[in-house]
Amino acid sequence: MNRSLSLFLSVSLLSPTANAVAAGDMPSREEMWQIIQQQQKQIDALMSQQKTSDARIEETVSLVEVTADAVDQKQTAGVSKSHIGGYGELHYNNLEDKTSGTKKNEIDFHRFVLFFGHEFNEKTRFFSELELEHSIAGDGKNGEIELEQAYIEHDLSASLSGKAGLFLLPVGILNETHEPNTFYGVERNQVEKNIIPTTWWAGGLGLTGHFGNGWTWDAAATSGLKTSEEDSYKPRNGRQKVSKAVANNGALTGRLKWTGLPGLELAASLQYLEDITQGEDPLAGAATLAETHAVLERGAFGLRALYAQWNLDGEGPASIGADKQYGWYLEPSWRINQAFGLFARYEQWDNTVVAQADSQYIQTSLGANYWLNEHVVFKLDLQDQDAPEGAKELDGFNLGVGYQF
């Protein structure tokens, strides 16, 4: 190849010489030899430069690949070990108490929540949730600051993890997952609020295991509720929120959940509480909560159904009919498209089922969610309550906006 190139260049360079022949000015053979030798040197030099250039190009390509690898690895490894997140919801309630005729016309930043988590290593992590309710906390203010989660989670094996600290109890649909963009309705449903009672957290130890196709079990030994006769033995009033909580009597909670089919969750929870007054009411005693629910999402159709019931031991709760407290709801929904969904909810609950007087609440709600994107939602619902005689019976509408990140 070098010879061909050399010959070609030589002939090309000799072309003017050929013209000179015609002019009678032809170089001698020695001069031509010298010219050829000089051209050969130049060709060798050029070939050498080309080889160097090729080597440099190859080296540059290799360096670009190595750099790209390094950048990609850094970007992949750059996933932070600490994570922040949060959610919030602003509510407007326009309700009228049909019993007294008083109106509730309020706008309230109901919840402002920040999550903070940190991964110590691949097996051990920390998670927390700090919440400001009703915008302002302090003496005489409406709101409060609450630590709703703060626990260490440790993976004991690929299918078993344990946690220690303050965590949400594995009961119900909303107790563990209650970001506003994940459910219909401005306010959380009344059954989970008044019976379970959501949001419900406690301090202690928990285990979570997975088995089979989509089975999950949870077990927790935690602090318990502390309600009283003055609070009509209502579980919601017994939440101690792990704030210098009386720990005379603990609680055991278990849950079995199946999510083996896309769009379907079936679960059942049970809590046994040694003494629902923490031993301060000799007329009260142990309590048991049983809860079961189903969540179905098939295409545009959705359905949530939940039943929860407390059984309280002792003459105290029995004397006011609070020895049985229960509630259930059905919530069909229709996701018209990615952005818009409609729902209806029928719920009833009773915190003194065995009382002679009527004490059952019924609420029917209709409403819509509009998701600006998967993280931001606008909500509207109408509610109609049927309350026991003398109790607040709130009818009207609610508006809300919520977000999660």
């Binding site: 970007q75 989670e153 004991l156 563990e176 030994a221 999510t259 896309p262 999402e297 295409g299």
Partner: protein, 188 residues
């Protein structure tokens, strides 16, 4: 009554001791949370009937980069992506964060349609139900509409919304990439 209370206390104390004992058990091998359901090699062999072609690379730049960004909602965390192409079938192995950690997924694509979706590596603490065939089967045959969205609704998994979203979005990205390289092949 007294005896009953004593037995209950014994029961709960026993459970607490048991749980403490479990938590205090010797450390398991590190990295256990990185669950590998299928290796890249296994997915490639499965997708190409054990005759895996040479790996190719595509750089994320220009309109391809902006298209991927629009689908993902952020830049893909790599300058270029490796893929395998043979006989009109391309295979892509991609990562996307579910809640906190990247999930590694494999996608096999032919004629602009997904023919196989598999979760290869799962690193999150919850939501691993996305590995179940009953979930991944929903993607079979799906294609893109308007360059960024799948042509069908994918039923979610309760409590695993973020992991489900990661698969859904990454499936759309894989289809975008496959369509891009097939167009380049045709233009050659």
């Amino acid at each position: 009554m007294y005896k009953s209370i004593k037995s209950r206390k014994f029961l709960s104390t026993g459970l607490v001791v048991f749980m403490l004992a479990v938590l205090a058990m010797p450390a398991w091998p590190s990295g256990i949370k990185k669950i590998v359901y299928m290796t890249n090699h296994e997915f490639l062999n499965q997708s190409f009937d054990d005759d895996v072609p040479e790996v190719k690379t595509i750089w994320l730049k220009g309109t391809l980069k902006s298209d991927v960004r629009k689908t993902l909602g952020h830049d893909y965390p790599a300058l270029r992506i490796r893929y395998w192409l043979k006989g009109g079938r391309s295979v892509w192995i991609l990562d996307e964060i579910g809640r906190d950690k990247p999930i590694t997924m494999g996608f096999a694509i032919e004629s602009s349609q997904l023919v196989s979706v598999r979760v290869l590596v799962f690193r999150e603490s919850r939501g691993d139900e996305i590995r179940l065939p009953s979930f991944t089967r929903q993607f079979d045959g799906s294609a893109l509409v308007n360059k960024h969205q799948l042509d069908r609704h994918i039923d979610g998994i309760s409590g695993a919304t973020l992991s489900v979203n990661a698969v859904r979005i990454l499936a759309a990205v894989a289809l975008q990439l496959a369509n891009h390289v097939m167009k380049l092949e045709i233009d050659k």
